[in-house]
C-alpha cells in the first residue's frame, strides 16, 4: 500500500526544485505566506484561524511520515490528543504560562511515541496503519476510564491560559492567535529543516528503497523511529496549542475520526508537499465552520464529495497540483528562452 501511495509522489521529489535559492520568486512566496499568516485573523474569526494553523501543523506532522518516509499513520490522534490532555493538566495544576505547558505536552507526545514507534515501524503499509490505530484507540479508552484525571466524556474543562500576566493574550483570541501562531511557526520550521537536511534525504531513500538504504549502511529502523518521534512531537505541539486555544481537551481529540480527518487534510493539501497541509487545513476547517452555521444538514456529504473530487481529479492534492502547473509553466518558458 505504501509503495503505491509513494510511487506517484517520488517522481516529483526526484526533480530539483524550480524555485532554487537564488530565484527571487521563492522569497516572494515565503513573504506572501507570512503575510497571510499575519492577516488571517483579520479575515477569519480568530479562534477559527487558530484552528486552521493547528490542524495545518498536525497535517504537516502526518505528511512527514506519509509523504517523506512512506508510513501512513492512522493513529496520530494519540499524540495530538495525548498532548492536549497533558498540556491541559500541566496548565491547570501548575498554573505555568501556556507555552511551557504546550512544550510539556509535546514532550509527553514524544515520550509515548517512542514505545509506539519502536513496536510499529517494523511494519509498513496497512499493517503500520493498523498498529498505530490500535495504540491510539488504547489511549482513547485509557482517557475515557481515567475520569479523575481527564473528566471522562465531559472532557478536561476550563484550561487556564496564563501568559505572563498579559491580559490581552489571556482573554482575547485575537491577540492569543499571534502567540499561538508563533509556536506553530516554530513547528513548521522544524518540519522544514528535517525535510531539507541530510537526515531528510535518508528518509526519502528509506521511503523509495529501504533495501538499498540498508545496503548503504543506514539503520532504517532507527531513522523511522526518529522521524516518528519528531512527527509525534509536532502533532503534540499542534494539539497543545489547540487545547489552550479552546481551553479544554475532550475525547474527540483522541477519537479515530480525528486521525482520519488529519489524513484527509494531508491528502487534500498534497502528500509529500509539506506546505500542502496548511492549505488542506484552511479548506477543511473553513468549510466545516461555514457549514456549521449554514443550516445545511449534510455536512459530511459535502466534505466527502470534495475529498472524492480532489482524489479523482487532482491526485497530487491542491498544493501538488498548483506546484506542477507552476513547474510546467517555468520549464516551458525556460525552453522557449533556450530556443
Amino acid at each position: 500500500m505504501s509503495e503505491q501511495m509513494t510511487a506517484k509522489v517520488d517522481v516529483d521529489l526526484a526533480q530539483p526544485s524550480i524555485l532554487s535559492r537564488r530565484n527571487p520568486l521563492r522569497y516572494v512566496m515565503l513573504l506572501a505566506g507570512l503575510a497571510v499568516l499575519v492577516m488571517l485573523p483579520y479575515w477569519i474569526y480568530p479562534p477559527v484561524a487558530m484552528d486552521i494553523l493547528c490542524w495545518g501543523l498536525f497535517a504537516i506532522s502526518v505528511d512527514l511520515l506519509l509523504g517523506f518516509t512512506g508510513l501512513l499513520s492512522f493513529g496520530h490522534a494519540a499524540f495530538w490528543g495525548g498532548s492536549a490532555y497533558c498540556t491541559g493538566l500541566i496548565a491547570t495544576h501548575w498554573g505555568v504560562p501556556f507555552p511551557v505547558a504546550v512544550i510539556g505536552g509535546a514532550v509527553f507526545a514524544m515520550l509515548i511515541a517512542w514505545p509506539i514507534g519502536y513496536l510499529s515501524v517494523r511494519r509498513t503499509g496497512i499493517y503500520f496503519a493498523m498498529v498505530t490505530l490500535a495504540f491510539a484507540q488504547m489511549l482513547y479508552f485509557i482517557a475515557n476510564q481515567a475520569r479523575d484525571l481527564t473528566g471522562g466524556e465531559n472532557g478536561l474543562q476550563g484550561i487556564p491560559r496564563n501568559f505572563f500576566g498579559i491580559e490581552a493574550v489571556e482573554t482575547d483570541p485575537f491577540y492569543f492567535y499571534y502567540v499561538g501562531a508563533a509556536m506553530i511557526l516554530v513547528g513548521i520550521l522544524v518540519a522544514w529543516r528535517v525535510v531539507n537536511s541530510p537526515f531528510g534525504r535518508v528518509l526519502t531513500a528509506v521511503r523509495d528503497n529501504p533495501a538499498r538504504a540498508r545496503a548503504l549502511g543506514y539503520d532504517v529502523e532507527r531513522y523511522k523511529i526518529t522521524v516518528f518521534i519528531i512527527s509525534a512531537g509536532l502533532a503534540g505541539l499542534a494539539g497543545g496549542v489547540f487545547a489552550v486555544s479552546h481551553q479544554f481537551a475532550s475525547l474527540q481529540e483522541l477519537m479515530w475520526t480525528t486521525s482520519g480527518k488529519v489524513v484527509l487534510i494531508t491528502v487534500l493539501g498534497g502528500i509529500g508537499t509539506l506546505w500542502g497541509g496548511l492549505v488542506g487545513a484552511g479548506v477543511v476547517v473553513t468549510l466545516e465552520d461555514y457549514l456549521a452555521s449554514s443550516g445545511f444538514e449534510g455536512i459530511g456529504l459535502i466534505t466527502g464529495t470534495i475529498f472524492v473530487v480532489i482524489v479523482l481529479l487532482f491526485r497530487h492534492g491542491i498544493w501538488g497540483t498548483a506546484r506542477n502547473v507552476l513547474r510546467r509553466y517555468v520549464l516551458e518558458r525556460r525552453g522557449r528562452q533556450r530556443d
Binding site: 483579520y42 471522562g152 465531559n154 482575547d172 520550521l189 479552546h246
Partner: protein, 414 residues
C-alpha cells in the same frame, strides 16, 4: 545562511504583526450603545446538533419552538414590548466540543447573541459554559444531562433548564423501588456517564429500601449484550436497570426482548428520549419504565401547545422543544421586566423566580446552583401507539423537590 534569512523574516513579521494588532484592535472589547438593548435588538443563539444523533431530539425544530416563544411574547406585549427586533441565529455543533466552543464565541462576539440555548452533549455543554462565564453572557442549557453544569462547572451566567442525570436516577430508581420493585440488577456501560448513573441509581434504590444484587459493567460501545443480559437475570430480580444510551440502549432493549426474561422481569431505563422509542418502534420498548422531563400528551395545556407545534413542523415535540420554548419565553419576560438586555440584570431577574408554564410545573430557578427545578414524570411505554408519537403513559408525577433534592454542594457561584 538560508535558515538565518528565514528566521530574520519571521522575527520582522512577528514584530510587525504585534504592532498591527496593537493599532488595529480588531478583537478588542467594544463599548455598549446608549440604547437599552445593545444594537437595538435581541439575538438568541441556538447551538445544537442539527445533523447527528440528537437532530430529532432538539435540532432544527428547536428553532421553531423559540420562534413560537417570540411570537407569543410579541402578541402579549404588542407595542409595549422592550424587544421589538428579535433575531434567532443557529449553528450545528455536530456533537464536537471544539466546534461548539468556536461557534459559541462567534455567536457572543460576532453575531452579538445575548443568550445561547440548548447545546446537547456534555463536553460541548461544559465548553460553552466556560465561554458564557468568560464573556459574561447568558447561557441556558437544555439538551445535556451532566450534573457538572450545576456542580463544579457552574457559574453566574449558566442555567440548566430541563433535566440532569441525578433527576433521572431519583425519578426512575426511587419511584419504582417504592412501588415494590425491591430487587434490582443493573447493567451499565463502562464510562463516566454509565458509572455515574450506576452510582446514583444504587444510592436511590438503597435509600428507597431496595437492594442491588449485581452491578454489571459492559464495554462501551457494544452491540452484543447477550452475556450481560443473562447475568443480569441471575438471582431472580424484580427489575433490571439498563443505564445505556443512544445506540447501545437500542441494542440492549432489542436483545432483552429476544431473551427469556421479557415479561418476567421489569425493564427500567436510565436515560431514554421519546425519539428513541420512535426510532425503534413502540412495541420493542413496550412496558419499559423511565423518567421523562415532559410529555406532550400529558394534559390539555401540553396538548394544545403540541398541536400548535405540529402545525408548523408536522411532528410532535420532544421535551427539549418545549424546554427551548420555555427558556426563550422566560428570558424574554425577564428582558421585558428589566427593560434591558444587560446580562447581570437579567440573571438577577431570573434567580429565584417561580414559574408555571407549558414546560415547567411548580418550577423554580434555584438561586444556589442555577438548576431549574420542576415536576418530572415516571413514564411507561405503551404497548401500542394510538397515534404516531403517542407512546407514553404517565404513571406518576414526581414533585420538583423530590426529583431535584438539595442544591448541588459542589457549586460555588463566585
Amino acid at each position: 545562511m538560508r535558515s538565518r534569512t528565514v528566521q530574520g523574516t519571521v522575527a520582522i513579521a512577528a514584530t510587525a504583526s504585534l504592532a498591527l494588532a496593537a493599532c488595529g484592535g480588531a478583537g478588542g472589547p467594544q463599548s455598549g450603545g446608549s440604547s437599552k438593548l445593545t444594537d437595538d435588538k435581541l439575538v438568541i443563539g441556538l447551538l445544537n446538533d442539527q445533523s447527528g444523533v440528537y437532530k430529532d431530539l432538539s435540532g432544527p425544530n428547536s428553532k421553531v419552538a423559540i420562534e413560537m416563544a417570540i411570537e407569543d411574547y410579541k402578541a402579549k406585549y404588542g407595542d409595549k414590548a422592550v424587544a421589538k427586533d428579535i433575531e434567532v441565529v443557529t449553528a450545528d455543533h455536530q456533537n464536537k466540543a471544539d466546534i461548539a466552543n468556536s461557534k459559541a464565541q462567534e455567536m457572543y462576539d460576532r453575531q452579538k447573541a445575548d443568550i445561547i440555548l440548548d447545546v446537547p452533549n456534555s463536553a460541548a455543554a461544559l465548553a460553552v459554559a466556560t465561554q458564557a462565564k468568560n464573556k459574561k453572557k447568558l447561557y441556558i442549557n437544555i439538551g445535556a444531562g451532566t450534573t457538572a453544569l450545576t456542580g463544579a462547572s457552574c457559574n453566574k451566567y449558566t442555567f440548566h433548564w430541563a433535566y440532569n442525570t441525578s433527576v433521572l436516577a431519583r425519578g426512575t430508581a426511587g419511584t419504582i423501588t417504592k412501588a415494590g420493585g425491591k430487587k434490582w440488577n443493573i447493567v451499565y456501560p463502562d464510562y463516566a456517564f454509565g458509572q455515574d448513573m450506576n452510582k446514583s441509581f444504587t444510592k436511590e434504590i438503597t435509600t428507597a429500601g431496595g437492594t442491588v444484587g449485581q452491578s454489571i459493567a459492559s464495554p462501551f460501545p457494544s452491540d452484543n449484550f447477550a452475556t450481560f443480559i443473562t447475568k443480569a437475570g441471575e438471582g431472580d430480580p424484580d427489575v433490571i436497570g439498563s443505564m445505556h444510551a443512544g445506540g447501545d440502549l437500542i441494542n440492549f432493549v432489542k436483545q432483552f426482548n429476544q431473551s427469556s426474561l421479557k415479561g418476567k422481569v421489569q425493564l427500567a431505563v436510565g436515560l431514554m428520549f421519546i425519539t428513541d422509542i420512535h426510532s425503534l418502534g413502540v412495541d420493542q420498548f413496550a412496558g419499559t419504565q423511565f423518567t421523562d422531563a415532559w410529555y406532550w400528551n400529558f394534559d390539555a395545556q401540553n396538548k394544545k401547545w403540541a398541536d400548535r407545534f405540529k402545525e408548523k413542523t408536522n411532528t410532535r415535540p420532544s421535551f427539549a422543544h418545549a424546554a427551548n420554548y420555555s427558556a426563550a419565553m422566560n428570558y424574554l419576560e425577564a428582558v421585558q421586566e428589566a427593560g434591558t438586555d444587560d446580562a447581570d440584570t437579567i440573571v438577577g431577574k431570573l434567580e429565584g423566580k417561580k414559574i408555571n408554564d407549558v414546560f415547567l410545573r411548580n418550577g423554580e430557578i434555584r438561586k444556589a446552583d442555577h438548576a431549574v427545578i420542576h415536576d418530572v414524570y415516571l413514564a411507561k411505554v405503551k404497548s401500542s401507539a394510538p397515534e404516531e408519537w403517542d407512546y407514553e403513559d404517565i404513571e406518576k408525577t414526581i414533585p420538583a423537590s423530590e426529583a431535584y433534592g438539595e442544591a448541588n454542594p459542589a457549586c460555588s457561584m463566585s
